[in-house]
Amino acid sequence: MSNETTFEPRIVAFLCNWCTYAGADLAGTGRKQYQANVRIIKLPCTGGIDPLFLIKAFERGADGILVSGCHPGDCHYNSGNYHARRRWNVFKPLLEFCGINPDRIQFSWISAAEGGKWVETINSVIDAVRVLGPFEGYQKINAIGPEGPGEGFAPSSDTTGCECK
């Protein structure tokens, strides 16, 4: 952490292409403001999200994760989100059992029409993780050994701004 006084959480959001990503897009075109702590990863469907993606995000320095897709019944591929929900039902308790705070890994259904819900949800995830503070447990592990923290999702001195050029 470069600046301990102003901790800005790094949130990774795994969004499904058809619903939540479009919902986030709608929030943008609707000029709705939300905090810029989130890095969005667009995937075809929540059903294609291997829980390993989520562990990897933590491993590479994420403080919190949001996974979001279509409401049940609305999946573009009919049943992807139902299968995903099954996985989350066992994966989330497993992480909690290992001592990861449930607020660090959250799930939601947000449709393409729910730009407002996206803003609300992502703001509340960011706020919750801000209260929890950095995910020191994992970041300490990363710092062990000669390799140091993993490359890729490396913490930069400016964690607030979007790095798009």
Binding site: P51, L52, I55, K56, E59, P72, G73, S79, Y82, H83, R85, R86, R87, W88, N89, V90, F91, K92, P93, L94, L95, E96, F97, C98, G99, I100, N101, P102, Q106, F107, S108, W109, T121, G137, Y138, I141, N142, I144, G145, E147, G150
Partner: protein, 281 residues
């Protein structure tokens, strides 16, 4: 019981019903047993059965070396028989390709293995021949079966993290846990794939958490808690706690016990529209 087992094995080998018998043999000391692979009828005296027959022999069904031996008869306890059901449901073996020698079992290990303390399959739920007396299997209540977890679930978040980090720290990535597991049968494990490298294969603390969590997660709704991973772990990580936690969640949420009822659909390859979603915003 041993006599009955040997006689049956001899008969099966003599009339060529099977070409090999996977069973337990005497080990180097009286408190040990080792797996034996018997191909000749005159060798059946090597077979034994006692309370030290802790292992789950079904793991040999996945290995090339033992698969080459031809159609096997396999000695299984009630718990091991559940593995067979999972393997059949997952299309790894066909029912007719294995001859099941079930043994009724009152618990193994000295002291009694943890898995036996809340056992409700003393008589295998699937077999071709049963050696020993057929007992009544009474399903134990949910809470009793998962009582082992209470102590760990009641820890605070910080204590849990510290407990597991201390455990995972010991991991030397020998992969004994997945090699012994009868249900870890992928030809190429995710940890062996390096483009991209999802799991750091070195014994670094970072990769240890991903590996151990992923290994357990890949057994969600499949593991029958034979505790073999935990038994073979050279650094004594209580791996079965993770497996058991997942089994508990799968049963709580999907009302599914792996390998228990052969007609149940596999938990993780199906879904129900009414699945729990209290945690989804």
């Amino acid at each position: 019981m041993i006599e009955a087992l040997r006689k049956k094995a001899e008969e099966l080998l003599k009339n060529k019903t099977v070409s090999v018998v996977f069973g337990y043999g005497e080990g180097s000391t009286p408190e040990r047993t080792r797996p034996v692979f018997i191909t000749k009828p005159e060798e059946v005296n090597k077979l034994t059965w006692n309370k030290y027959c802790v292992y789950n022999l079904t793991t040999y069904l996945k290995r090339q070396e033992t698969r080459k031996l031809g159609k096997p008869a396999i000695v299984v306890k009630g718990c091991d028989a559940r593995t067979l059901i999972v393997l059949m449901k997952e299309s790894q073996i066909k029912r007719e390709d294995v001859y099941i020698l079930g043994v009724s079992c009152d618990g193994v290990g000295d002291p009694l293995a943890e898995k036996c303390k809340a056992c409700d399959v003393h008589t295998p739920r699937i077999y071709d021949d049963l050696i020993g007396e057929k007992g009544e299997n009474k399903e134990l209540p949910f809470d009793e079966r998962y009582a082992e977890l209470d102590e760990y679930e009641n820890l605070s978040e910080k204590e849990k993290w510290e407990f597991w980090q201390k455990q995972f720290e010991k991991c030397i990535k020998c992969y004994a846990c997945s090699n012994i597991c009868p249900l870890c049968f992928c030809d190429r494990c995710i940890v062996e794939k390096n483009q991209p490298q999802w799991i750091d294969p070195s014994a670094h603390a970072r990769g240890n958490l991903s590996w151990n969590v992923t290994r357990a997660y890949h057994l969600a709704g499949r593991c029958i808690n034979c505790e073999e991973c935990q038994r073979v772990c050279p650094v004594d990580i209580p791996l079965n706690l993770l497996n058991k936690k997942l089994a508990k969640e799968a049963e709580k949420n999907f009302n599914y016990r792996p390998g228990y009822n052969i007609d149940d659909e596999l938990a993780m390859s199906t879904y129900n529209e009414k699945d729990n979603q209290d945690f989804v915003r």
